[in-house]
């Protein structure tokens, strides 16, 4: 018996279906690739939200701002290739908000920590209190396990199946 694993991409995805005798808003059914296709580069769009916790879809394209969060985040690359660069923060740059990612005002002033180049299926640690920047030569997609924060964008009515 042979098998063909179906993966999807920005260029090719097939959305599933939802048929429930219930309010479709309770299920917030969306598709990562569809969301990324309608997103601006580095817009952090919520596709999952569980009280303060969140899953954000990011269309990586070009170079992002520098981000930091007061807790660990994790990026799973779902399409393409993304370079993540990490720097330590100096005290004045450390986040003071409670949760979620925020942008730094400029480039981080601390020591360089390292770099990861990740492709589909790779999971990357975005460590608490570090600054990170994403770069992608071609449009790519990542899903970030995080908390809802200052950079989170909610547009549920635009991204979810409602009829």
């Amino acid at each position: 018996m042979s098998f063909k694993t179906k993966v999807a991409s920005l260029a090719s995805y097939e959305k599933g279906t939802i048929e429930v005798n219930d309010d479709l808003k309770h299920y917030a059914f969306s598709n990562i690739y569809e969301v990324a296709n309608m997103s601006k580069p580095y817009e952090r769009v919520l596709v999952a939200s569980n009280l303060e916790y969140a899953g954000e879809v990011v269309r990586a394209e070009g170079t992002s701002a520098w981000y930091t969060a007061p807790h660990d985040e994790f990026a799973i690359v779902m399409d393409g290739e993304i370079e993540f660069t990490f720097f330590q923060l100096v005290d004045a740059e450390k986040p003071t908000h409670i949760h979620g990612a925020c942008k730094l005002a400029g480039s981080p002033q601390g020591k360089r920590m390292g770099k990861v180049i990740a492709r589909r299926g790779h999971e990357v640690l975005l460590p608490s209190g570090a600054a990170y920047q994403m770069k992608a030569a071609k449009p790519s997609v990542t899903l970030i396990q995080t908390c809802k924060g200052p950079e989170s964008v909610e547009k549920w009515s635009e991204i979810c199946v409602l009829n």
Binding site: F3, K4, T5, K6, V7, A8, Y13, E14, K15, G16, T17, I18, E19, V20, N21, D22, K25, H26, Y27, A28, F29, S30, N31, I32, Y33, E34, A48, S49, N50, L51, Y53, G55, H71, D72, F74, I76, M78, F84, F86, H99, K111, R112, M113, G114, K115, V116, I117, A118, G121, H122, E123, V124, L125, P127, L143, Q145, T146, C147, E154, S157
Partner: protein
């Protein structure tokens, strides 16, 4: 509230089939060649043995999970995080209407010991209920030789992120986990990582798909990364989820590859609410007021985001929180 510890009591082996029967609290579990017969003071219920064992070993491995685990429409467990209910007919209208429903609360450790004891006695060598049906033998027939090895194997959860120094390691050839036949067509490269000295515990990445593709179990999640109380669970799913999961909180499913068909039911009545087909890249909430059961035509990769905040189940049960994640003002 503390409750009295209860131990499972085993009978002598059946002289014909060789299996023991077990008494645990007010429940009796007896198996024959094809079925388990569960009896309680007011009733009896029969489940096909393969379905029962597939459900029981997962219930143990999951630590009774979040909320309700229905082995079928009648029998199951509810986790109270320290104690566990075992119920029969409690969520079945017919059983309730005729007064034969029954529920008993036990210490979690006692249930775990009881279920492990039953599973060990009833699982023969050559049958592994954690594997996909095409990958294992049959539980039917009389007792042969008891299976050895890690039959009831949950995956040790990551504490921060899988693969970090001192944390749980991803599956590999070296750990005895080859790529499963159903994912052999994908390529599995490693991320390119540069770490400055001193940042070995901060700069990290690994191939999550490779870890999932090497699972030797189905419908059995491993925790790979933790953001405070938010847990990323990844699983490989093939054939059908051998239980029906009743949610005590909202959870989120993210389909990484292939597809899964979900039947959705009302949590309390079991009445059908509908059906969801999730394909690669789809994201869907499973609200706190439903039961769900998945069917995967081909082995697929699923990611689940759970909120493990202690006491959350009480806030949903009391109505303090609405049973769905995106409340009206956010639309």
């Amino acid at each position: 509230m503390s409750i009295e510890s209860i131990r499972v009591i085993a009978s002598e082996p059946d002289p014909v089939l060789g299996y023991r029967s077990f008494q645990f609290g007010s429940f009796t579990f007896k198996r024959d060649a094809y079925f388990v017969h569960i009896s309680w003071p007011k009733g009896v219920h029969t489940i096909e043995i393969d379905r029962f064992l597939r459900a029981m070993v997962r219930d143990i491995g999951w630590g009774f999970f979040y909320g309700w685990i229905f082995f079928d429409d009648v029998f199951g467990t509810q986790n109270h995080y320290g104690t566990v209910d075992i119920y029969a007919g409690t969520y079945s209208k017919g059983h309730r209407d005729t007064g034969v429903d029954f529920l008993e609360n036990f210490n979690t450790d006692d249930v775990r010991v009881a279920f492990e004891t039953i599973s060990v006695n009833w699982i023969n060598e050559g049958y592994d209920p954690l594997r996909a049906p095409m990958e294992t033998g049959s539980p039917l027939g009389s007792k042969t030789r008891e299976a050895t090895g890690p039959l009831i194997r949950g995956f040790e959860p990551a504490r921060r992120m899988m693969g970090l120094p001192g944390d749980v390691k991803p599956r590999s050839d070296a750990s005895g986990h080859p790529i499963n036949r159903a994912f052999a067509d994908l390529s599995y490269d490693k991320p390119d990582i540069e770490i400055e000295p001193g940042f070995e515990s901060q700069v990290h990445a690994f191939n999550l798909f490779d870890h999932i593709a090497r699972a030797d179990v189905t419908w059995n999640p491993s925790f790979t990364s933790i953001t405070r109380a938010c847990i990323c669970c990844v699983t490989s799913e093939e054939h059908m989820l051998p239980v029906i999961h009743g949610n005590d909180r909202n959870e989120w499913f993210i389909q990484l590859t292939d597809e899964i068909h979900w039947n959705i039911q009302d949590k309390n009545t079991g009445n059908p609410r509908g059906r969801i087909v999730m394909k690669a890249g789809d994201v869907c909430a499973m609200p706190a007021d439903i039961r769900h059961q998945g069917f995967a035509p081909k082995r697929s990769m699923l990611m689940v985001l759970e909120n493990g905040t202690p006491g959350l189940e009480e806030k949903y049960a009391s109505g303090e929180l609405e049973p769905f994640p995106i409340t009206a003002s956010r639309w």
